[in-house]
Symmetry: C2
Subunit: 370 residues, 2 copies
C-alpha cells in the first residue's frame, strides 16, 4: 500500500488522533492541513516558501490541470511533482466538486458528467474512468475517486441518488486504477443526513480503500450541522485509515474537525482571503488593506514569527496591496499559511499532551474576541 | 561626503572603470546595474531575492512614493530603507522624468511643474525645493536633483531652455539639500546636441556635486546617437565622481555605456519584459509565453544557474503565465535580473583583465545571433 497512516497517540478526552502518514514522497504528521495548489502552484508561492510555512503535502486540482496545461503534458514533463518542483507528497482531487459547481454548464448522467470549460466554453466529458486516467497521468501520491457532490440545501431524494451514484462510480474508479505508487481514496457523501452518511460510509468501507474523503460538507450548511455529521460518522470509520475532511480550513472548523477524529484538511480560504488583503491574527481576522492600518507600523500579528511579520509593517503591506504590488499578497499569503500551519502544530502538541479541549477553549476565546 | 567612488582599475583599451562606491548603507562594486523598485518594492520580489540575483543598490521613484503612500508616511515609518526592509543603498530619482512624461497632464514654469496625478487626477506642484523635501524625507543614500528632461526629438532651442532651467533648478536643489547622510547628484541634460551636453556638464561640474546623472538619453533616440553623446561627454567628466546613465538597461547598451566610462545604470526593462513573459538568454530574447514552448522542458536559458533555471522548465513557466499564476512572472523576473547582474559581473571581470572589447564582441555575437 503506497499510503498508510500509523496512529501514534489518541487524545484522552476527544476522538482526536496524532499520526504519521507515509507516502511515496515521504512521511507527514497528522492532523495535517494541505495548502491548495490549484494550477500546479500554491498561488503566489515557491515550493520552498510553502515548506517554510510548514506545508508538507499539497493539493492540486484535476479539473484545472486537465484543462490547462493538460494531463498528458504533465505526464510528459515527468509527472506533477517534477513539473511543479515539489518533492513532497501531493493529493489530487477528482474534479467532482469543480464540475458539479459549474451549475448550468454541466449535465450529469450515469456514465459521467458533460461540462463546458469555464475558460473557453469547450465541451468535455468526465467519467470515473477518464478521471482515473487523468489522475494517474498527474501521478500524485493520493488520488481521489470521482464522486457526485450534492449541494446544500438539497432534497433527501437527491442526496440518496448522489450517494448511490458515488458508490457505483467509486467501484468504477477502483476497477481501472492501476498505479501502484498512488493511493486511491474513496469519498463519502450523503449530505447532512446522518443515515445517508452512514450508508455511504458502509458501502465505501466495504470496498476497502486505503483512505476516505468526507465530501459534500462545508458547502454552505451551518457549521453545527457539519459537526453533527462528523459526530455520527466518525465512530464507524476504521481506526487504521486516514480521514480527510474536504474543503475545510477555517481555524475553528479545523479544531472541531480534529476533535471529532479528522486527520487531513484542505481549503483555499487562507490563501484566497490573503489575496483580498485579509489575514488571520491570534485575535481574529484583520483586513490589512483597510485605511485604519495606513500608519500602523506594527506587524500583521504581533505574536507571529513568520517571514512577513518579522520584516514588514501593516502600513507597508497595505501600501503594497493598494498599489497592486505583488509582494503585498505574497506576504499576506505567507502569513496566513504560516498561521494555519502553526495552529496545526499547536493542535498536534495539544493531542500529545491530552489537552486539546483546553487548547480549543483558549484559542477560540482570544480568536473570537478580536 | 556620504557617497564617493574609488576607482580601482581603468581598462587599458577603453574608458571603462572598475570602482567601489561607498554609501551610508555599504559599499558596492561599479559598474553597477540598479534594479528599479518604483513603489518601494522591486516588482514581484522580496529584498532577499533581489540580493540573490546580485542586486546591491535599488532605485525608487520620488513621484510614485510622493503620491502613494506619501513621503511623510515613509518618514514616519523610519525612512525608505526600513519601510521596504532593504538594508543596502537606495537611490531615489527626482520625479523629473515622470512628471515630464505626463505630457498634457503637466505645466512647466520657472517655479516648477504643476501636474495631475496619473491615479486620481488630483493637482500637485513640484518645485526643486519640494522635491528635496520629499527625497530627504524618503532618506535614500543618493538623491537626484530635480531636472527638466527634454524629449526626443526636440528643437535645439527647447533643449537649451531645458538645460538652462536644469542648471538653475540644480542650484535651488543644492541650496536646500541638508541631509548629511544623503548625497545629492546633479543631472546633465542637453538632448543629443554635443555642445549643449558640454555646456550642461560644465555648469553642473562648477557646482561640485558628489556624482552626476546623465539624463535625457534612452528616450527614443537611436542608440548610435546616445553613444556619440557619451563619447563626447565622458572625457570632460571628472575621474573622481560617479557617472550614472539614467534609464539604460538593455544588455548591449550596458556594455557600450561601460566602454564609454559609465559607472551606474538603472532600467525597468528587465523586470518589465519579464512580466510580459519575455526573458533574456545568452543567445537573445525568448518569449517563454509563446505556444512553441508549451512542451519545452528545458530551462529558460541552458547556460543560466539562477533559481528559476535550476528548478523550472519553459513549459511550466509558460503554463503559469498563461494561467495568470503569479509564480510565473516571479520566475521570469528573477531570471532577467540575474541575467543582467551576471552580465555586469562579467563586465567587471573583463575590465579587471583588460579584455572588455573582446568580451563585448563575444557576448554580442552570440546574443544577437539568437
Amino acid at each position: 500500500m503506497p499510503v498508510k497512516i500509523k496512529i501514534e497517540k489518541k487524545e484522552k478526552h476527544t476522538r482526536a488522533r496524532l499520526g504519521k502518514l507515509t507516502t511515496p514522497h515521504g512521511e507527514v504528521e497528522t492532523p495535517i492541513f494541505m495548502p491548495v495548489g490549484t494550477q500546479a502552484t500554491v498561488k503566489t508561492m515557491t515550493p520552498e516558501e510553502v515548506k517554510e510555512t510548514g506545508g508538507r503535502l499539497v493539493l492540486s486540482n484535476t479539473y484545472h490541470l486537465y484543462l490547462r496545461p493538460g494531463h498528458d503534458l504533465v505526464k510528459e514533463a515527468g509527472g506533477l511533482h517534477k513539473f511543479m518542483n515539489w518533492d513532497g507528497p501531493i493529493l489530487t482531487d477528482s474534479g467532482g466538486f469543480q464540475v458539479f459547481s459549474l451549475g448550468p454548464l454541466r449535465t450529469i448522467t450515469e456514465e459521467g458528467v458533460e461540462f463546458r470549460s469555464h475558460i473557453d466554453g469547450s465541451k468535455h466529458f468526465f467519467t470515473p474512468e477518464k478521471v482515473m486516467e487523468i489522475e494517474q497521468a498527474l501521478g500524485a501520491d493520493i488520488a481521489m475517486a470521482f464522486d457526485e457532490c450534492a449541494p446544500y440545501p438539497c432534497e433527501k431524494e437527491y442526496a440518496v441518488a448522489a450517494l448511490e451514484r458515488t458508490t457505483r462510480w467509486a467501484e468504477r474508479c477502483k476497477r481501472v486504477h492501476k498505479r501502484e505508487d498512488q493511493a486511491l481514496f474513496g469519498i463519502i457523501q450523503g449530505g447532512v443526513f446522518p443515515d445517508l452518511r452512514e450508508r455511504s460510509a458502509k458501502e465505501l468501507l466495504a470496498m476497502d480503500f486505503p483512505g476516505y474523503g468526507i465530501g459534500g460538507l462545508s458547502v454552505g450548511e451551518p457549521k453545527e450541522l457539519m459537526y453533527e455529521v462528523l459526530d455520527q460518522l466518525m465512530p464507524i470509520m476504521p481506526e487504521d485509515k486516514p480521514r480527510y475532511l474536504m474543503g475545510v480550513g477555517s481555524p475553528d472548523c479545523l479544531i472541531e474537525g480534529v476533535v471529532r477524529g479528522v486527520d487531513m484538511f484542505d481549503c483555499v480560504l487562507p490563501t484566497r482571503i490573503a489575496r483580498n488583503g485579509t489575514v488571520f491574527t491570534h485575535n481574529g481576522k484583520l483586513t490589512v488593506r483597510n485605511a485604519e492600518y495606513a500608519r500602523d507600523f506594527r506587524p500583521m500579528d504581533q505574536q507571529c514569527d513568520c517571514y512577513a511579520c518579522r520584516n514588514y509593517s501593516r502600513a507597508y503591506i497595505r501600501h503594497l496591496i493598494k498599489t497592486d504590488e505583488i509582494l503585498g499578497i505574497r506576504l499576506t499569503t505567507i502569513h496566513n499559511l504560516h498561521f494555519i500551519q502553526h495552529l496545526m502544530q499547536n493542535i498536534r502538541q495539544a493531542i500529545r499532551e491530552d489537552r486539546l479541549l483546553e487548547y480549543r477553549e483558549d484559542f477560540l476565546k482570544v480568536f473570537n474576541a478580536g
